[in-house]
């Protein structure tokens, strides 16, 4: 049962990669490092990370965090029902409010505007990043306004179009990630 689900997940991901709908995010590994988690990006997210759309410092911060993800580094996750309001802006990953399965955002702190990248875990330690948006306290971001329900819908559409089943998404969020602290 689990094996069949893993194989189906893998097949759906591979088909999406083949069609160009997803890009497997690889990082340059150094001595003693290896890929411990899998990360796939939609082309628009990949463009954001690999081109000069972002401020160089912020781009490097994003790349560093994605690298940490891939090599299995520690991650902090704020659960949707977290009682720790103080931590809600500090985690690497935030589970957004809404119906299951978990829909998450990765937050990248300033400089300039706060970048948020949205996505879903497709299996334990396997994350698809779908779309992104900017929020800023300091004026306009120059991008379209960020509406989380729209991002969630976009994610749902992708899952539906690519035969990626929502029931494959680990639920609750604690089942999504190893080497992580959840609050």
């Amino acid at each position: 049962m689990v094996d069949a689900q893993l194989a189906a997940t893998q097949a759906a991901i591979e088909a999406a990669i083949k069609s160009g709908a997803l890009i497997h995010h690889r990082v340059a590994l150094e001595e003693g490092e290896w890929e411990q988690r899998s990360l796939w990006l939609r082309p628009e997210v990949n463009d954001l990370v690999s081109t000069k759309k972002l401020d160089p410092d912020q781009r490097e911060r994003v790349k560093a965090a994605l690298r940490r993800f891939v090599i299995g580094g520690p991650f902090t996750v704020v659960k949707a029902g977290s009682p720790h309001g103080e931590a809600s802006n500090l985690g690497d990953i935030k589970e957004l409010q809404g119906p299951p399965p978990p829909f998450v955002e990765l937050r990248f702190k300033p400089p300039k505007h706060q970048l948020r990248i949205f996505g879903r875990f497709i299996r334990k330690d396997g994350l698809i990043l779908m779309s992104f948006g900017m929020k800023s306290r300091a004026g306009t971001t120059g991008m379209k306004p960020l509406l989380i329900p729209n991002e969630r819908r976009r994610c749902d559409s992708f899952f539906s179009a690519r035969s990626v089943k929502l029931e494959w998404v680990p639920n609750p969020i604690e089942n999504s990630l190893s080497n992580a602290t959840f609050v």
């Binding site: 988690r37 580094g73 520690p74 500090l90 985690g91 080497n179």
Partner: protein
Amino acid sequence: MMVERTQLSASGTEGPAKEKAPVSEMSNDRKLEVVVQLTDDVLAKLTSAFFEVMSKEKWGKRDLALISGLNETAIGHILAGRRKNLTIETIALLARSMLKRPELVLHDTRPKGNRAGLPSSAAVALERTPPQAGNLIRPLTTIHSSSAATALTESQEHLRKNSALEVLERSAGEQGGLIQKMGR
């Protein structure tokens, strides 16, 4: 007494240095990359420690400020990644206030010929699965006990095993064979 300098050759064997290794300046992009990577690592660990102390001791930023003497707002800025020029003193005080002992670990990036960092293969993944003494990769237990800054946890060992299996699966898939799963 003359001390002979040694270096690791490409094959990973130690031997005397015959000539000075070439020196090349880091590009500005590379400088930014390495600085941001370390910053990310430090902040990730500080944030993780904060989450832990918040869950276990029920301490908040105010408590940490009382313990460390650091400004509460400054702690918030540090953890939120807004503070530039974080000093060693600040890291030491903040980490200690969160009941963690910070330690700088310098990982040797010289090639050792152990194939770490090369493209994944099933053989390499299998090789890496059991961390044993004598392996060029440091045993997980040693790292866990000796390094607060870069400690790998048991869950990472789990991750590593999973990763090995995934590589095996990929490899089997690429060869057109059946996906072989080991005890899953």
